[in-house]
Structure formats: C-alpha cells, structure tokens
Symmetry: C2
Subunit: 332 residues, 2 copies
DNA sequence: CTGAAAGCGCTTACAG
DNA sequence: CTGAAAGCGCTTACAG
C-alpha cells in the first residue's frame, strides 16, 4: 500500500509532477493527438500512478440507466436484465421504493441516469402524468394496469398465450379444464384468462365459474388453488397454471394428492422460465420472451435517449406454446 | 411536449429566467438555507421546468458500484444481487468482458464507480496483482481458484456442506452413494467432494472412484452423469448432486429411468435456490446463503470504500442441510 | 508539439 | 437574504 495522498489529484498537480503545462495533461486525458509520444507516456504513467479521475464527467457517452423492479425475488428478473444489458446500456438495478414522481425523476437525473425501465409497476394516472412531464425517457415492461397512450411499454401477447394453452388441452381431449390466474386486477392475468375463456367457448365448452381461481402468481397460490380444485366433486383433468411458478405448485399438489402428471392431471404453465425444463416432468408452458422484452425495452429507451421517435408506444411480443411432458390425454 | 431548448440549462440561464443572481441559484440547488422562501420556490420551479442537471457531479455521496457476473444466466445471480442492493450500494450489473486488469479499473473509475464485486471469476495471479495495485476496492465472491491473501473474498463452507449432505445419506442407511461434482478444477467443487469423501471415510465406507463424477454444474451435466451412474452394474441408491441444477437433472434422469425419488433413489442438491422448494418432490439440499454472501460482499466493499480496514480478507458463510422430500431410506 | 490566455460552469467566503 | 468577486478544475482556440 502506498501512502494515500492528502487530496485528490488534479490536472494541475499531475502537470507539476510531469513537468508539463496543465493543457498538455488535459490533452492526454482526452486522447487528443497533438502530444509527443514520450510526453504522453510520462503523463499517462503519472495519471495512473495517482489514479487520476476527472471531477467533471462527460455524460454524453455513458448510457447509465435504471432498471426498477418492484421486487428482486423472481427468476423473471434475471431474464429481463439479460435482455436490457444486451443492448449496450449500463444498467443500475434498483428496487422501487418511491412512487415514480418528480422526486424519483430528480434523483435519477442527479445520479446521472439517462433513462429508466420500470418492470411490472402499478402506475396511477398521476404517476403516468409525472413521467410524461419528466423529460427523462422511461419505458415500462408489463404494467399491472393498462398504460396510458403516451407511456412507452412492452408486454407479451397474454390473451393469445392463454388461448394457445387452453386449445392445446382441449385438443388432447380434456373437457374439465381449470385455470389458476394471478391477482384478479392484473392486466396480464385478465388477458390470459380471457384467452382461456375464448378457447373453451370456441370448443363449445361451458365456462364453469368454479374452475376459475385466482392465485398470486407464486408457488403457494398454485398449490393452494390446486388442492381446492382437486377436492371438487367433479375435479378438473387439466389445469392451466397462469404462471410457471403456480404450475410448479400445482404439480406438487398433484403429487401429494397421489395423482401422476400428466397421466391423472395435465398442467400448463406460463412464462417458460429456465427451470420449466428442470421440473419433473418438464413443464409444458407458454413461452413469454422475457429477455427479448428486456432487449426491446432497452432498444426503445436507447432511441428515446437519442431523441429519436418510436414507431409505436406499445409493443407486444409474441408468446408461443412449448410442448414438454406435463400434458397428455385424460384417462378415458 | 414542450419545445426542446437548444442548449442544456446552466445556473446562469436559470438565474436570468428567475431574475436573481447566479450564486442564489447555486444555493437553491445545493439546499443552502440562506434563501428567502419565495425566491427558493421560484427558482425551484424553474429548475424543474428546465430540468436542470449540474455538470459537475458530487461523487462523494453516491456509491455506484459494479457487480460483474461471468454470465447472467443463472438464478444464482438474482440472489446475490438481492444481497448487494440491500446494503445501500447502487449496483451496476455488467457481464465480464475483459480481464480485470488496468483497463478495466480505468473504465470503472471513469464511469464514476467506487468499487466492484466480481462473482465467480477465474483470476490469474496477474489479475490479482492488478487488482491489488488498482486502489479501487474490489471484493470477490466464490472465486474459481484459491484467492490470494490480499484479495478480499466471500465464499461458503463448501467442505462442511458436502460433509453434511453425505452424512445425511449415510444416516438414512445408504451405502452406495455417488457424487456429481462441478468442473474438476473449481475450488468450491473440490471442497464439496472433499466433504463427501470425509463423510464416507468417517462411516468406514470405501470411496468407489466409479461413483465420483464431474458435471458442469448445469442441468444436463447432472442428467448425463446420473444416466451413466444408473446404468452401472451396481448402481448407487443415492446421489449427492453438487448443485441444485444438477440435482434437478438427476431427478429427471431417475424419472425417465422409471425410478421414483426418493423411494428408488435419494437426491441431495447444493445451493437451495428458490426453486428447490418447487421441484417435485421438493429437493433436500445444502443451503448456501447467496443473498447473505452478496450482503457480506457489499458490506466489505462499503468499508473498503470508506477507507476502513477489514477484520479479515476471507469470509466463509455457513452452509446447512435443508431436509425436504427427495431423500429417504434405501429400499431394503 | 507546447503552453499562455480566455472562457465555462460552478462554489464559496464575505460585504452589504 | 442577496449578489459582486475570487477562485477551482477543466477545455479550447491559437500563437509560437
């Protein structure tokens, strides 16, 4: 350990140490070409030795951006992060502690952030207005409520995904098909259940209200709702799980009920998290391209930061059914 | 949308707009108290309207820190992130693209970073030297190789974990116990297998070299090694999986081989990722406190940033066995 | 190539 | 409370 200097190095102090003028040091720091190689080398060495860092940061090049999660507790989060970091943004991860109002925007600007991506937020109309006025570009991923027209947002085709999942079960021969959605007021959950209903209606099947339940998108919600459904006098032969995590809970509920998946109960998830491949049996699920959604949000933010217009404020990326081993024909 | 101004607002331009002097605006920006309320309010409003951001950033308060992952593709990552963000650091997530040498350190300093946490890196002695010289505090989590004495690092008690997992299987009555480790040269994997050997020896059991295999810590490694093990003339009745992901692969290998877990094969993992609870059956595993490791690394970095000394450069957090449903007595 | 000089955005005593 | 003045860290023509 070298002894610490009393004060941070400045261009002036480095200039003195190198025996050159201050502007010369400035040129070396900024990579200007009109400096003699020997001089440059000497100054460079001193800059490194003293660990010089300029006080004034040029903020034009760096694309520091906040990605705000309501909770950093889901495998969801990594997938989205992967996408956002892919497009050349420097990503600061932060939990959402405040409403996204004026204070929040000011703190972002003060921290040198060029924009923000907010994941699954619950934005009041007032919040949305605040973001609109902020002049700091913000893109929203999968908002809980329908976003205002002027809030750029990225989502997935949840309705189409719910439709595909349910049609798959119908095509296997299932007639008693249940669904466990997420919280009732979530936009994405309502859309998935909407797709479920549409598939049943198209197949000429009655929508039995007792087969439509709501969890919290987490494991326990799936487990508890599935236990209830399996205790019904006329239990379902298939359950659309609303999320992968809920589907895992449903599979576990089947196991403790002595039912085999898929022989006694078919289960479909939604998300296609990496561990959908890991479950036993591997999970049939609706793939939601989370990393692509992150990438798309990142690219939109990139454009906004550079003052370019967006083609559209609302993007929905396609979902598609991934067939694995958790679904099959019902026992005849 | 208001029309964009041609140039960014400065204290001077705001002062003109507000009809006050430049120093007064400076005081408002910096929260000094000697400004009349009415003046403050007027200036404040103009600052917000023009979205004023100072060119010179005070960097003393903000604790912007890089967390570097070799790959952002594991649920591992979120757990560690959760811990680091918990201790009041602002975390920039970045993939490791360069060797952690001088260029890397310079780019961190230029980006205003106050330090860095590097997760599971493979650090050559040269890299470690470079970090030592850098004067930028760096803490390492779970390095692949034995870290040098002067590199602050956080790990888990891998040997003790391997011991506990294997002793648990021995106590259930298993005698043919296999292990699937990670890559052979990984420090953490060697320690876990060391614990496995110690447990067998303590129980007076022979260590059969054909029951010690190496995967890549990923699902497929566990699956492939388990298929090999289960095809052995005298197959194991229990497998210590080396990581949760590998354990999931082992469970799946058992399923496709027509073996029930835990009745025909007991499986123990290592990590206790959130989805260890989600597997079917829920996974008995060795808990590695990833979020705590992140928190610890964050706190160490905090101290280093503030120039405080560390109590010790190497911290190992305790692992412990979590009993769930994937282990049981062997069929007699 | 080098550096004296002007200038920019900002902060900080300090006089009123 | 307010702001003229000095000063700090830096950049940018531009003269040599």
């Amino acid at each position: 350990m070298q002894p610490e200097e009393l004060s941070r190095p400045t261009l002036a102090s480095i200039a003195v140490a190198a025996g050159v003028s201050l502007p010369t040091v400035s040129k070396v720091v900024n990579g200007k070409l009109d400096v003699a190689p020997a001089t440059r080398a000497r100054v460079q060495r001193l800059l490194e030795e003293h660990n010089y860092v300029p006080v004034v940061r040029r903020r034009v090049e760096d694309l520091l951006v906040d990605v705000v999660f309501t909770a950093l507790d889901s495998p969801w989060a990594v997938e989205i992060l992967r996408g956002v970091t892919d497009v050349g943004l420097e990503v600061v991860v932060s939990p959402l502690s405040r409403r996204p109002g004026r204070d929040w925007v000011q703190s972002l600007l003060a921290g040198g952030r060029r924009g923000a991506i907010v994941v699954t937020p619950r934005l009041t109309p007032a919040d949305q207005q605040a973001l609109g006025r902020a002049r700091l570009p913000v893109v929203v991923i999968d908002p809980v409520d329908m976003p205002g027209q002027d809030v750029p947002s990225v989502g997935a085709t949840n309705w189409a995904g719910g439709l595909a999942a349910t049609e798959h079960l119908v095509s296997l021969g299932h007639r008693r098909i249940a669904v466990v959605g997420g919280p009732e007021d979530y936009l994405c959950s309502r859309a998935r259940i909407g797709g479920y209903r549409a598939a049943l209606e198209r197949a000429g099947l009655h929508v039995d209200a007792s087969l439509v339940r709501h969890g919290d998108f987490r494991l326990d919600g799936g487990y508890d709702r599935a236990r209830e459904l399996l205790r019904l006098p006329d239990p379902p032969t298939a359950i659309f799980g609303g999320s992968d995590e809920q589907a895992f809970g449903i599979i576990e509920a089947a196991r403790v009920s002595g039912l085999a998946v898929p022989d006694d109960l078919s289960v479909v998830g939604f998300d296609d998290l990496p561990m959908a491949r890991w479950s036993s049996p591997p999970l049939t699920t609706v793939r939601q391209p989370l990393a692509d959604m992150g990438r798309m949000a990142g690219r939109m933010l990139h454009r906004l930061i550079h003052g370019d217009a967006l083609d559209t404020n609302r993007v929905e990326l396609a979902t598609h059914l991934v067939l694995r081993a958790s679904t099959g024909a019902p026992r005849s």
